[in-house]
Structures are given as structure tokens and as C-alpha cells.
Amino acid sequence: MAGPMKMRATLAGGYTEVRVLMTHPMTTAQSGQPLHFIQNITVKLNGKALIEAEVSQAVSRNPVFSFRLKGGAKGDKIEVSWLDNKGESNTIETAVA
């Protein structure tokens, strides 16, 4: 089940801390279930990609990531999206608080 995402972006001493939660089973090849995991994650600030990540099934179930963006201002738009090995994807957008 690729369910909801949740994100918080807060200004903290010169940088923007982005914390994002993703609902995803992240099943491994060893689990006996079909391999199903997020492969790519993109973090954008005001439409511009700042972080591109490739991940494996070794990331824990229901992934949680924290990132730091330099600078940033209240109201800036942060967008995080993921894409998994089955082609499913999800995106969440929030304003820096």
C-alpha cells in the first residue's frame, strides 16, 4: 500500500529542516513477499531540484527522512516526491513555516 505522506519544513538557524514521512512497505527480497520498494526521491525548493536520492530495499518500512536546505524563507515551497520499483509514485508539497 502506497498511502499518505506527511511533511514538515521549518526554519532553524540558517537552514530549512525538511522532515518527510512516506507510507511504503519497503519489502526486501528476503521477506518472501514481492520486492516492492522506493527507488528515487527528489526534494525541490520552489520548483528546483536540490536533492536527488537513489535508495534500496534496505531503507526501513514507512520511510522517514530529514534533509537540510541552506537558507530558505517562510512561505518557500518544498516538494518531495518518490518513485518505486513498480512505477508507483507520490508527491507532497508544503510551505516553509
Binding site: Y15, T28, A29, Q30, Q39, N40, T42, V43, L45, K48, A49, L50, I51, E52, A53, E54, V55, S56, Q57, A58, V59, S60, R61, P63, V64, F65, S66, F67, R68, L69, K70, G71, L83, N85, G87, S89
Partner: protein, 145 residues
Amino acid sequence: MNRLRRTVLGALAAWLATPLAALAAWNESAFGAKTPQDALKGIGAANPAPSKEIVIDAPQIAENGAVVPIEISSNIPGTSSLAVVLEKNPFPLAAKFDFMEGAAPFVKLNVKMAETADVRVVATAGGRHYSATREIKVTIGGCGG
């Protein structure tokens, strides 16, 4: 299979694959590598130099190998990527983060660890590779056997 059919199918497959490929790439050979050495080769960082400027913040003991929190960052100027290699996992490469201008080389994430092992973090800066390791013990918690 005749040639025409193969061509049509090939074109169709390419067309279907395009949106995904255009969106993102996934380094299959590096993530499919079964040893830490092959994983490092796969990301083009075969012989990283040891560095104390890479910070791995993690508990020395994880109560549950399914969720091992690690916070990684690099103080090496110009760090453009951080990779996480879990040395005793069946597929050691866990993640690789590329940072553009405007992003700090910092990530906090939870990973799965098969057993007590070194976590290696590889930083890339100015085309050079650096690495640091930290051992995390994985134990059994709770009442069940």
C-alpha cells in the same frame, strides 16, 4: 519472432519506459552488488580515502535491526554526494544522495541491518571520494524468541 515485430515491441517498450527513465535513474549494478567493494565500484568510488570530516551519528546498539536510525553529514567543502553502505547486508548499498547547490550534505534516515556490522558513509567532493565507518550492534529486544 520476426524483425518487424521485434522492432515494434522494442519501440513500445522504450516508449513505456521513457517516462520513468526521464524522471529518475536507479543504479542497478551498484544496488545489485553483493559485496561492499562491488557496491563502491558501482558508484565509482572504489578506493575512498578515510576522512574524519564525515560525521555518522548513530546509536552503538540498535534494539531492532529493522529500524536503525543514522544521521550522516559531511564537513568536506564541496560535498556533492553521500552514500550509505551497510557492510554485511546481502545488498550492501542502501542509499545515495546527490546534493545540488543550496542543499546541505546532511540526511537522517532509518535503515535495515541484517546483523551487527560497520556502516560506511562515502562522501564525494570535487570528484574525490572519502569515507568513514561506524559499527552498530544489532540485538534482540522483547519477549519473543
